[in-house]
């Protein structure tokens, strides 16, 4: 019987953190700690003396963890990202999914793999949701700009809404640009001229 793995998840967003923690806990014996605030990150991690640290690939505070990989860092045991041997492929999968993992040197690969498989899957879902959210936001923003441009055209040229949109679309097609880009250019230009 081996001691449960100690895992630290660095994640500011509570909902995301909970989702990841639940998934990891369901996988079996491990203790999971979440660190939300990243100031004094290295010290906070050292308190838990974890076997594995998981952090979002896009988190700029990742560079703070790099300090821990130096032997003279605040952790007694050096931490290394899984890069060699059996873990090599996992590293690639993890980067694709958007999770970086720091693993205590010497931890057996068969103990790391199940945890990382779960982390990778979970981060992939989270990342997908985030991309979708960003897409939705962008679409909404574009909708607003297109509506404003339509309004301007209607007013300036005395067209109805459908005609105004057709004009926008035709201009975009002629110039090989997106409708939203043409609309944005119009709104910006009229802002400059007004």
């Amino acid at each position: 019987m081996t001691a449960p793995l100690s895992i630290v998840v660095v994640e500011e967003d509570r909902d995301r953190a909970t989702a990841i923690v639940d998934a990891l806990k369901n996988s079996g014996e491990c203790e999971v700690h979440v660190i939300g605030k990243t100031s004094g990150l290295a010290r906070k991690i050292a308190i838990h003396s974890p076997d594995i640290v998981l952090i979002d690939y896009d988190n700029p505070t990742r560079d703070m963890l790099e300090e821990l990989t130096l032997a003279s860092g605040p952790l007694e045991r050096p931490v290394a990202m899984f890069v060699s041997g059996a873990a090599g492929e996992l590293a690639q999968a993890a980067i694709e999914a958007g999770v970086s993992a720091y693993v205590v040197d010497g931890l057996r690969p068969e103990r790391i793999k199940p945890v990382l498989d779960i982390a990778v899957a979970r981060f992939q879902i989270v990342r997908q949701m985030r991309t979708e959210l960003a897409e939705t936001r962008r679409a909404l923003e574009e909708r607003k700009v297109i509506d404003r441009a339509k309004g301007m055209i209607m007013k300036a040229k005395g067209l109805n809404e459908e005609q105004a949109y057709m004009l926008l679309r035709k201009t975009a097609m002629d110039q090989g640009r997106r409708v939203a880009d043409v609309a944005e250019a119009l709104v910006t230009a009229s802002g400059l001229l007004s």
Partner: protein, 391 residues
């Protein structure tokens, strides 16, 4: 001709300019390539993207590929630094509290004399400085150690802490650090936010320090020599454009765009001109050669520059000097630089090594076209670094 895409990871900093200019101004297109520039959230991710093959090339801190070759840090994929993207460009600054103590001590913030600044600091503070840097393997860290170790500041001791540059001003404000060494625009941002004052430009410590390099995986350089040559030529052109005084306004505007740095052009302009506002009192200081993208063969990856880095790392991490320097020398690929840039109008030095710190005045040296003038590369303590013989 079909346009080939080369993906390049970079950190959104002023010194990413040669890469951005190469793409935006059509130098890449002229070489039949497109640079797919990918902004990264941290140096670790730039390194990982390059090491694990997500990108073909990267904007890296010059000590990173050397440290990796020496087995330091968590990734050790063999990399090649094929050119130097920028020389100098770092700024050392202090918190408002330290600034006040220095002023009380009569220090005039000359923004020039590194020995004087160290003495003033040593006399004004009564504990070790905690200094924020962007990454454990960076010219920032090497310059700090070099500076502090040979001045009166060494007695006080100091601690170096990694803080991502965009968070540097915040860390200064909340007291996590009381000094920093960072690339622009982040030093000026600390001044703008009223949380710090600028003490010294990096070139006050070493007047010709290789700051960022263009790096690729060594095996990619071997399997894609044609693509590598085209990219290197395009980026070299980008650096030449970036160095011209008449490019500055356009360069600052380009970098300020939200897809690149998203910082006001006026703040970026300070790094490009070397004219800084150093404190909340609005004091101005000018430094020459704050960031150099081209002149004096700035892009040439001198093997001796890598050896200096290797030697410093060996000293700090207790590694064998001779072995470390020899490994380091092989990372700065002056051979690949020569091969890629011959017949382009580039004036390339005849030698691949020099005594670092020995050039006190602009000096004409033997070169491909015979017109090369090297710029001063002195250290503040006037020491000269003689690289160990490689045989």
């Amino acid at each position: 001709m079909k346009t080939l895409s080369v993906s390049v990871a970079y950190m959104p900093l002023v010194d990413a300019l040669p890469l951005i200019a190469a793409q935006e101004l059509g130098f890449a297109e002229a070489e039949g390539i497109a640079l797919d520039l990918i902004a990264a959230p941290s140096w670790s991710s730039v390194r990982d993207m390059l090491s694990f093959g997500r990108v073909d090339a990267a904007h890296l801190l010059s000590p990173m590929p050397v440290a990796m070759a020496l087995g330091l840090g968590s990734v050790t994929t063999p990399l090649a630094a094929v050119s130097v993207l920028s020389v100098n460009g770092n700024i050392i600054g202090v918190s408002r509290a330290v600034e006040e103590r220095l002023r009380a001590h009569g220090y005039g913030f000359d923004f020039r004399d590194a020995a004087l600044a160290a003495d003033a600091l040593a006399a004004s503070i009564d504990g070790p400085l905690t200094i924020g840097v962007p990454f454990p393997f960076s010219m920032h860290v090497e310059l700090l150690h070099y500076w502090i170790e040979s001045t009166g500041l060494a007695k006080q001791g100091f601690e170096v802490r990694t803080v991502p540059p965009p968070l540097m001003a915040q860390a200064l404000e909340d007291g996590t650090i009381n000094a920093f060494c960072v690339g622009e625009p982040w030093g000026s941002v600390a001044v703008e936010n009223g949380v710090g004052a600028l003490l010294l430009p990096g070139n006050a410590i070493w007047s010709f320090a290789p700051e960022k390099v263009l790096a690729v995986r060594t095996n990619w350089a071997e399997t894609e020599p044609e693509l590598l040559t085209r990219m290197m030529r395009a980026v070299w052109q980008g650096g030449r454009w970036a160095a011209r005084p008449e490019s500055r306004t356009a360069a600052a505007e380009m970098l300020s765009r939200p897809e690149y740095l998203g910082v006001p052009a006026e703040v970026i302009d300070r790094a490009l001109t070397g004219r800084f506002i150093i404190s909340s009192r609005g004091e101005q200081r000018k430094t020459d050669g704050h960031v150099e993208f081209f002149d004096g063969a700035a892009n040439f990856p001198w093997r001796s520059q890598a050896q200096w880095i290797g030697s410093r790392l060996a000293k700090r991490f207790d590694l064998d000097q001779k072995e470390s320097q020899s490994t380091a020398a092989g990372i700065f690929r002056s051979d690949l630089f020569r091969a890629a840039l011959q017949n382009t109008g580039a004036d390339i030095p005849g030698a691949s090594q020099k005594l670092e710190g020995a050039i006190r005045h602009p000096t004409a040296v033997a070169s491909l076209k015979g017109g090369l003038i090297l710029q001063p590369d002195t250290f503040f303590d006037t020491c000269i670094f003689e690289p160990l013989d490689e045989n």
